[in-house]
Symmetry: C2
Subunit: 188 residues, 2 copies
DNA sequence: ATGTGCATGTAACTGGTTACATGATTCG
DNA sequence: CGAATCATGTAACCAGTTACATGCACAT
């Protein structure tokens, strides 16, 4: 049940319709897989029912009527509560990326904590993969070797990225607010 | 319904029990997420019913009785058929890794084709991500920037890896068979 | 005897996909 | 006029998880 929170997170930036959300997520299809309308619309309805969002039906100017959803204060609260609780150690890449996208709803300290936690988990995984190389190295078949190498490559890329991100984050002087929006450009 | 084929693929290497499969997949939890017993055992039963595998109940020597599953010729055929059909353009990282693990059931040419296809898809994604940087670069919030950077890092790592893998593959002289098992060591 | 690890299994539930149905608008 | 895009929605279905139930073996 992360889709509910994820959608909520997207709405913190700006009001969106179901259609918008899918478009926005389209470019990240391969990383996290964008949800189908069949799950997206019911999710939106559920959020509405729990008063975490409100609707604004916009009669279409040159396009059919669209319903843009706006997050409520209750919704924002709920989201903050959720986004601050740590992810389990077996968290998937997808889960991590989804959380990462909600960074805007996280304090700088909270974000840093998340990244550090991820970094240490990645370290554990790399160690495990390298151990496989040592112990079972000879017994693996082609596919398993390829996957091991691939996993190692991804893990190392992620590790590098996390280091960079954390460096950048610690260089950021101000902790929160609107100034944030401004000073992000230099990231990379 | 990829789990069925995936399990079938794992069984091409050696007979395994449900318990074994989960152990084997445990180290790749974060990449593809290992299935729970609640889905694994029914899957095994389904394969059995369709005559794609057979069981050998091994009365436990120092451990409880275990059922090791062996792939049948029919199963191997089914798998080859499945593994050779190309993946859609929106294929997730998870789907790619699962396919990659079944490389052993693929001809060298088939494997190369898969890797090349993936490489070109990655290129498309990178282009899309870089286009976002150009057009909406200023409008993105913290989370979206982080995810974009992260995605770019992963995509570039994958790209590099694919190049290396394809290089290595083209350096391999023999096309198939038992010699394969031997000459893989030098990969990295 | 009690708990921990090995090992298999089932039932209820849930999150999500697929397929379908609807309708307005715009372009060729 | 028909096709494509925008836009929303529902119902049937399915894959997978969670939680539960069982039982053997071994160590404390």
């Amino acid at each position: 049940m992360s889709l509910r929170h994820f959608v909520l997170g997207l709405l913190t930036q700006q009001p969106l319709s179901g259609y918008d959300i899918r478009k926005r997520l389209g470019s990240l299809d391969w990383l996290i897989g964008s949800p189908s309308f069949g799950s997206l619309y019911p999710t939106l309805h559920a959020l509405l029912e729990r008063r975490l969002v409100t609707v604004a039906e916009v009669a279409g100017e040159g396009s059919p009527s669209r319903k843009t959803y706006i997050i409520t204060e209750k919704g924002a609260q709920e989201l903050r509560k959720w986004v601050h609780q740590p992810m389990g150690p077996g968290a998937s890449l997808k889960a991590f990326v989804m959380r990462l996208m909600l960074a805007g709803s996280l304090s700088t300290a909270g974000l840093a904590a998340h990244l550090k936690q991820r970094r240490s988990q990645i370290a554990v995984r790399r160690a495990a993969l390298e151990q496989i190389t040592g112990t079972q190295g000879e017994a693996l078949d082609l596919g398993q070797r390829l996957v091991r190498d691939y996993a190692l490559a991804v893990a190392s890329a992620e590790s590098t990225w996390l280091d960079r991100a954390l460096d950048w984050l610690s260089d950021q002087p101000r902790p929160t607010g609107a100034a944030q929006r401004e000073s992000i450009r230099q990231s990379l």
